[in-house]
Symmetry: C2
Subunit: 296 residues, 2 copies
């Protein structure tokens, strides 16, 4: 089966390598020469633009930043949709709102292509292992056609029904929780430090108690180490909480905590920390109150 | 060892029974006759006011609502402090700010009494099993004297150092996280429902992914069941997030997410849901947007 992976970033590179390992004939696509070279070294083929993909690709997995990049790579002037095999499946895994997912699916369908609304979670490490989680919605035909790729990249595929948009909705709601959990982890850790608590003791107590979250445990460990190398960056949550706000506004539905959290990530980005690991939103409190941060 | 437990509510009753089971000579104290009768039925003794406790109690565990009730039960006109044995230990387990903990410890010390700043977590079920978590700070002498009671009521005792206030600080920071996690669980679930997601599917995806929190998993299960019987009520978080705000204000430290969450619990309380289980803060969104809630 001929497969293309568009976007060889932290997630896409891992997914593309997982496809190779699973024996799929895989072409990667990225504007960045370094990413293409890394994928060629790993045994794959690579092109620099979507319209340079070979004719007749049967499944294209898009792991780009957002709906606009997804749309450009598929349907833009240099998009790949006209070159895909008849009945090929588009696996759209960028985080986007459900309205965008439905719009892109309609364009694909009009060209005789299948569409899977299939956002992912798991981070770069899981992507590299072929162990992502996929939250997918689409027709039975789209699932069937996409199956070899899903099997290669994921250990868990949530099948959320036939209606495109269900995957995007669950992912956006998930990002609401993830973003607020990171921001409140920083708020709580900052308050504890300000009040004189030992940050490592505080971490130990919280992670063993009902106040824990997956994000507190994962991200505050990095803050305690002073390790701000981005696994997921502050600016990702400026963007994803922006998607939350956009979806909520479209539904006329208030999301006060998500809005507040987005302002905190925006403040961190404004300070120049947009590319720091997202838990370092704690630097907003450091800037405001002068608390010392733990670390190296 | 003669022990008193003041406050036979959800947590205190469990702790008092756990003391009995451990073979401690335990007197319960509560204004409510029904609570006293239940404890007497369980094999304990009970009195209706702190100044009716027997002379010479060696350890008094306070599981009342706040610092004011703790202070009244110890040092008020009908307080028990003058009746305690010389060198007895006060185990102060109500949630309160660190300044109150330090003030009460100083009063105890001036009377020749030991003081353990010892807030708890775990809920009524853990209290009944003698399996609470205690976050404690105080002198080595206070820990030593309190040990038989701590062993009876808890499976985990965090020893946070000699400085009274460290226990209270960690508990208040913990409640900041717990309160925001509950409120954002409701915000996310409400948005998902509004967007047409299946709430059970959304719960299944989130609880298996990085967006999970202990509170989301625990409280949204009750929302899905439509079971609003209070294990921990909305009004508890109006109070505890109020303590967060008070401690933060005293430190001149901003807590925007905690403040927003407190407003949401306050809104639920204003609607008449103060005694509902805390996850039913989701009724704020139901009232605003008309979303249907799952359940019975």
């Amino acid at each position: 089966m001929q497969v293309a992976v568009i976007g060889l970033g932290a997630m896409g590179m891992g997914a593309a390598r997982s496809c190779l390992r699973a024996g799929l004939d895989t072409v990667g696509c990225d504007f960045a020469a370094a990413a293409r070279e890394a994928f060629i070294e790993a045994g794959g083929q690579a092109v620099g633009a979507a319209d340079a993909l070979p004719q007749g690709v049967e499944a294209v997995l898009l792991l780009v930043v957002n709906a606009a990049q997804t749309e450009a790579a598929l349907f833009g002037p240099a998009g790949c949709a006209p070159r895909l095999a008849p009945g090929a499946v588009i696996i759209a895994s960028a985080t986007m709102g459900p309205d965008d997912a439905r719009r892109l699916a309609a364009r694909a369908e009009a060209m005789g292509l299948l569409y899977l609304d299939a956002p992912v979670s798991g981070g770069a490490a899981k992507a590299a292992e072929g162990a992502m989680t996929v939250m997918a919605a689409g027709s039975a035909a789209a699932f069937a056609k996409a199956r070899p790729v899903l099997d290669a990249i994921a250990t868990k595929v949530w099948e959320l029904g036939e209606a495109v948009g269900a995957g995007a909705t669950v992912k956006v709601v998930h990002q609401l929780l993830a973003g607020v959990h990171i921001a409140v982890a920083a708020e709580a850790m900052a308050l504890g430090i300000r009040a004189g608590a030992d940050p490592r003791q505080l971490y130990a107590v919280v992670t063993s108690a009902a106040g824990n979250s997956w994000m507190f445990e994962n991200r505050m460990a990095r803050v305690l180490e002073g390790d701000d190398a981005p696994r997921s960056a502050v600016d990702i949550f400026v963007k994803d909480l922006g998607l939350v706000a956009e979806m909520a506004r479209g539904l006329n539905h208030p999301v006060p905590l998500a809005s507040q959290a987005q302002q905190l990530f925006t403040a961190a980005s404004a300070m120049g920390h947009g590319r720091a690991d997202d838990g370092f939103v704690i630097r907003v409190w450091q800037a405001l109150t002068g608390i010392p941060l733990p670390g190296k």
